[in-house]
C-alpha cells in the first residue's frame, strides 16, 4: 500500500467552525492514528457535515488547526488532498458518461497513475462491473452511491471522510461497505464518518458533536 510511515496521526486542536455568521462548534479536538475509525454523532445542525468538509479542506476553520503527523495541514493543501477521499451528499456522477468513465476520471484526477485494474477491482467489489458501460443517468440512487464509493478503492488514499455513506444503500451493500472499511483499516487507513443508519465498525471511536456546541453566548459571539 501507499502509506509511508507505518503509523500516521491526523489530529485537530481547538477547531472552530463558523457557518453563515454562526459558530457551529468550537474547541473541538480529536486524534486519529492509522487503522482507527471515528464516528461523528450529534443532532441535525450540530456540524457533522461541516466537520467532514473542514477535515477535507473544503472549509477553512475559523480557529484551531488540523495536523497530519504534527504538520499543519494548511501548509500544503495539495498533499492533504492527496491523502483524503471525501464522499459527500452528492454522487458527482455525470449522466452521459458510462460507469467506468465516471470512475476512471475521478481515479486519474486523484492519482494520474491509477490503473484500470484498480478501477475494475473497485467496481467488482461494489457489484457494478457488469454495469460498466451503462451511462450514469440510468443508475438507481443506490447504484450511484456505490459508484461514488468505488472511488475509495480506485485510487488509494489513507483517510476516508464519509458523510452518511449508507444513504440509499441496501443491507447487502452496507455490509460490503463495512467490509471495505475494515480492510482499509487493516491496511493502516483511517475513516471518519457520519451516519444515521447503522454501520457497524468494530472498536470505532465516537465524537459527540453536541459536546462542542458553543455556549449560547458564544454562538452569537462571532459578531458581537
Amino acid at each position: 500500500m501507499t502509506e509511508g510511515p507505518l503509523s500516521s496521526t491526523f489530529s485537530a486542536d481547538g477547531l472552530a467552525c463558523v457557518r453563515g455568521e454562526r459558530v457551529v462548534f468550537a474547541h473541538l479536538e480529536f486524534r486519529l492514528t492509522s487503522g482507527e475509525a471515528l464516528f461523528l454523532l450529534g443532532p441535525n445542525g450540530s456540524g457533522k457535515s461541516s466537520l467532514l468538509r473542514l477535515l477535507a479542506g473544503l472549509l477553512k476553520p475559523a480557529a484551531g488547526r488540523l495536523a497530519w503527523d504534527g504538520q499543519p495541514v494548511a501548509e500544503d493543501r495539495e498533499a492533504h488532498a492527496a491523502r483524503i477521499h471525501y464522499v459527500g451528499h452528492h454522487d458527482a456522477i455525470k449522466p452521459v458518461l458510462s460507469v467506468l468513465e465516471n470512475l476512471r476520471f475521478w481515479a486519474r484526477l486523484h492519482d494520474p497513475e491509477a490503473g484500470d485494474a484498480r478501477a475494475q477491482a473497485a467496481l467488482e467489489r461494489f457489484g457494478l462491473w457488469h454495469l460498466r458501460s451503462i451511462p450514469g443517468k440510468l443508475l438507481s440512487a443506490g447504484q450511484k452511491r456505490r459508484l461514488n464509493l468505488s472511488r475509495l478503492l480506485a485510487a488509494p488514499a489513507p483517510v476516508w471522510l464519509l458523510d452518511e455513506p449508507s444513504v440509499a444503500l441496501d443491507k447487502a451493500s452496507v455490509r460490503t461497505l463495512e467490509a471495505v472499511i475494515a480492510e482499509h483499516r487493516a491496511q493502516g487507513g483511517m475513516v471518519v464518518l457520519s451516519t444515521h443508519a447503522d454501520i457497524d465498525l468494530p472498536d470505532a471511536g465516537t465524537l459527540y458533536l453536541d459536546r462542542f456546541a458553543p455556549r449560547p453566548a458564544e454562538a452569537a459571539e462571532a459578531w458581537i
Partner: protein
C-alpha cells in the same frame, strides 16, 4: 499536466455527448448577424463599414450564452467539490475547463466568422485579421467569463447577473478586436492592436483562473 489533459478530455466528451452547446452558440451567432442587414438595410457600403463591429459584438454575446453552465453542472452534482479536493491547484483545473469551453464554443465561432464576413461584404483585406483577432480575443473572453461564471454560482438569476458582471470587462477586447480589423481594412498596420489583444490574453491567463478558483472555493464553503 496529466490532470489538465484529463479534465479537458472529460469536458469535451461531455460536450460531445450532450451536444447542442456548440451548435446553439454558432446558430445564435449566425442568426443574430443575419438580423443586421434587416435592421440596417442591405446596402453593401453600410454593411461593409459596420461588419467588424457587428461580428465582434455578436461573437461576444454568443460566447456568453453557454458561460453560466460552465461550472453550474459540476456545482450542482457535487463534482466541483471533488475537483476542489484534487491534489493539484484548482487554478489548473479551471484552465482545463476554460480550454474545453473555448474549444467547444470559441473555436466554432472563429470557423463561422469568415462566412458571415462574406455575407456582410467585409473587405477581403480584413479576413486574415478578423481570424487573428478572434483567435487572440475569444480565449480572453472565455477566461474573463469563467471568472464571472464562478462568481455567480448559487446566485439568484445567475445568468442575467453574469452578463452584467462580464460585459463591462469585455469592452477592451471588443475595442481592440474591431480596431485591428478596421485598420487592416483601411490598409493600415494592425500590429499594435493585435499585440494589445495578445497582451490581454497573456494577462488574463494567470489572473482570471486565479480569481475564478478563489470564487469557486468561496462557492463551496
Amino acid at each position: 499536466m496529466n490532470r489538465l489533459a484529463e479534465i479537458i478530455r472529460r469536458d469535451l466528451r461531455l460536450a460531445l455527448r450532450q451536444g447542442s452547446d456548440s451548435v446553439m452558440v454558432v446558430t445564435f451567432f449566425v442568426l443574430t448577424v443575419v438580423l443586421f442587414p434587416f435592421g440596417l438595410g442591405p446596402e453593401a457600403n453600410l454593411l461593409e463599414r459596420t461588419s467588424a463591429g457587428v461580428l465582434w459584438v455578436t461573437a461576444l454575446l454568443a460566447s456568453m450564452l453557454s458561460l453560466d453552465r460552465l461550472f453550474l453542472a459540476d456545482y450542482e452534482d457535487g463534482s466541483l467539490e471533488l475537483l476542489a479536493l484534487t491534489p493539484t491547484a484548482l487554478e489548473l483545473l479551471v484552465i482545463g475547463k476554460v480550454a474545453a469551453h473555448w474549444l467547444t464554443t470559441g473555436l466554432p465561432l472563429i470557423v463561422a466568422a469568415p462566412v458571415l464576413a462574406v455575407l456582410l461584404h467585409m473587405n477581403a483585406d480584413g479576413f486574415a485579421t478578423l481570424l487573428f483577432t478572434m483567435l487572440l480575443g475569444t480565449p480572453t473572453l472565455s477566461l474573463i467569463g469563467a471568472m464571472g461564471a464562478a462568481l455567480v454560482l448559487g446566485a439568484r438569476r445567475g445568468g442575467v447577473l453574469l452578463s452584467l458582471l462580464v460585459l463591462p470587462l469585455y469592452v477592451p477586447v471588443l475595442i481592440f478586436g474591431v480596431g485591428a480589423i478596421d485598420a487592416a481594412v483601411q490598409g493600415l498596420p494592425a500590429k499594435a492592436q493585435l499585440l494589445l489583444l495578445g497582451g490581454m490574453l497573456v494577462a488574463a491567463l494567470p489572473l482570471a483562473p486565479w480569481a475564478a478558483a478563489a470564487a469557486l472555493r468561496q462557492a463551496l464553503e
